[in-house]
Symmetry: C2
Subunit: 346 residues, 2 copies
DNA sequence: TTGTACGCGTTATCAC
DNA sequence: GTGATAACGCGTACAA
């Protein structure tokens, strides 16, 4: 069953006018007499005429829709970022089409092809944790297609980028644990491919160094899928805790890593923070209700989304090719609660 | 900066053929000679030709995209449902466009207008908690536009509907609390406009009756915005606890109500389940990590999404107008943990 | 086997 | 002030 919409032609026929007159009347052109305008506009309203955006897109070679690729919308950070994106996009008359990579490189490519074939005007992307090769993005970018990276930005591609100060986030988290007496701090890191992981590890490393604590590479475990599957986190924490240099605290460097880390400790009957302390990157709005309440590094997800979409729309609507790209770094926020508490006195 | 795509015309010109020959060759028409096909297809691949979906949409009067309206994608139930929807939609070559009502009737109408004007082929909707008047949906439906309701279905509109057995969910939850010795059980309900709220209240009521407990209407508080703002939940619980007939247990009938209920108890230093027990409808995958771990009624969100999109696509692709509509009810799952525990012996 | 012409809905351009 | 026509990209009925 097809839904038949009213067209400008129907109006023209009904009113005994030409399509061009109707079109001009509806667009309030100065060449049309007030009476004709009135008749046309009233009739259009009456039969609930809506211009067909598909026809407009074809004509204007733009769809007024933009694509978003994220790993998972069920992730708090991303759903908040998407809210930020939408808040601006709808205001400016843009539609958003969301696709999920589920942390798979392959699905990211499929999504990209799909979106590109849907003639989106631009792309907001936070790459999957498996993404190492960037050819799929570079190809589009070279052809002048507007792309803005947010959160998980990528180094070797010159476009607008919006993210958070991951270095500072990890530095602050590490310093907080050190302040609470922890000397053996492990890092449950995300995918090694991601620059955010590298930055977070660097912040962690620097904080240790600044506090004269030796850095031990075996205290870092990388999770390729960013904690998407519990198994991965279980393995990583298993080896961290089996380390000779057994950690008394852990930094989890992503949303899913943080919650799965807590889940692991519970399953092993490790009491947090007495047996082991933790602090994690998380945008969950429930971390205060967890047991124990979690100390977290929170990212301004909503704002990141807003800034990213603004840059993208600016680029899309630019008459000339963009040559100067911005990199915007927003500050993270550290919220201290119970989980990062002092080391138990034995 | 505009991104210039390759068209069939470019291929025709380059190969000295007509556009129709190219078109037919690419669609592997039997009327084209194998050699011509080979040349065309190879060249198309080489220059990475993609048919313009906008032109196709205009021609075929369908966009192969469907709209989804939910209150909030950051809500676990809905993000899971959307995953279910996407899993099927992408397979069948449909695009999904997601819009959020944020529980506002006004925004729901705006979203609907927006999506309709974007020429979607069909709509999946879970109405906002403010939605009482259905004219905006009835209008579309009358004109033959395919609409499928999921989760928050609506009574006076004859379309496909997919939801969960809310009556049973609430009945089971109430019975569990009664089994644990609770006689005064309050209900923190969602919007009175929603049929799911009515069904959940009915299940609660019937369970009380079946266990010979008097029903007391003052033990129900409705939250128009389904717990979206904490204030609302605070007020509702405030009056429930101030009741003469003070409850020893609460049933929270939606995701946000459940978590905000727990938040309220924590803020009032009420220990769950000793001071007050609770069980809530929730699809959060973290309820096991909360303090205390929450007993919940969980809905098969992913499956609901899958069933809903299948019905929608079936209706869209139907040659004849659909006259027989299905109503599919999936069973909820009850997961018992700590929060619904026995009443404290005093 | 291949090419020409048309239509999908809209607007810009040119003609009257 | 209004109407006819072309164009956007594609597929197809019809013509050759």
């Amino acid at each position: 069953m097809k839904y038949e919409a009213v067209t400008i032609k129907d109006i023209a026929k009904a009113l005994g006018l030409s399509t061009s007159t109707v079109s001009r009347a509806l667009r309030d052109s100065y060449e049309i007499s007030p009476e004709t305008k009135k008749i046309v506009i009233e009739y259009a309203q009456q039969i609930n005429y809506r211009p067909n955006p598909i026809a407009l897109s074809l004509k204007e070679k733009r769809s007024r829709s933009i694509g978003i690729i994220v790993c998972e919308i069920a992730n708090s950070f991303f759903s908040q970022a998407i809210n930020g994106i939408e808040s601006i996009a709808y205001d400016k008359g843009y539609n958003v089409i969301i696709a999920q990579s589920h942390e798979s490189y392959e699905r990211e490519i499929l999504n990209l092809q799909y979106l590109a074939s849907r003639s989106i005007d631009g792309l907001l992307i936070s790459v999957s944790s498996e993404t190492e090769n960037l050819d799929h993005l570079i190809n589009l970018h070279k052809r002048g297609f507007p792309i803005v990276f947010f959160d998980r930005v990528v180094e070797n591609l010159d476009t607008h980028k919006v993210g958070v100060d991951n270095y500072k986030g990890a530095y602050d988290a590490t310093s907080e644990l050190i302040k609470n007496g922890h000397q053996n701090i492990a890092m449950l890191a995300g995918s090694e491919f991601l620059s955010i992981t590298k930055e977070r590890v660097a912040g962690y490393h620097q904080a240790l160094t600044d506090h004269k604590i030796a850095f031990d590479a075996s205290q870092i475990e990388y999770c390729l899928h960013g904690g998407m599957n519990y198994q991965e986190v279980e393995n990583a924490l298993g080896s961290l805790l089996a380390n000779n240099n057994k950690p008394s605290a852990v930094i989890a460097s992503a949303d899913k890593l943080t919650t799965n880390c807590l889940r692991y400790f519970k399953s092993k009957d490790l009491e947090v923070p007495n047996d082991i302390a933790m602090i994690g990157f998380s945008n969950l709005d429930l971390t205060d209700l967890l047991s124990p309440s979690l100390s977290v590094i929170r990212q301004p997800a909503y704002e990141i989304g807003q800034v990213a979409i603004e840059l993208l729309i600016k680029q899309i609507e630019n008459k000339r090719p963009t040559t100067e790209f911005e990199k915007i770094i927003l500050p993270p926020q550290m919220i201290i609660r119970e989980s990062s508490g002092a080391k138990k006195a034995r």
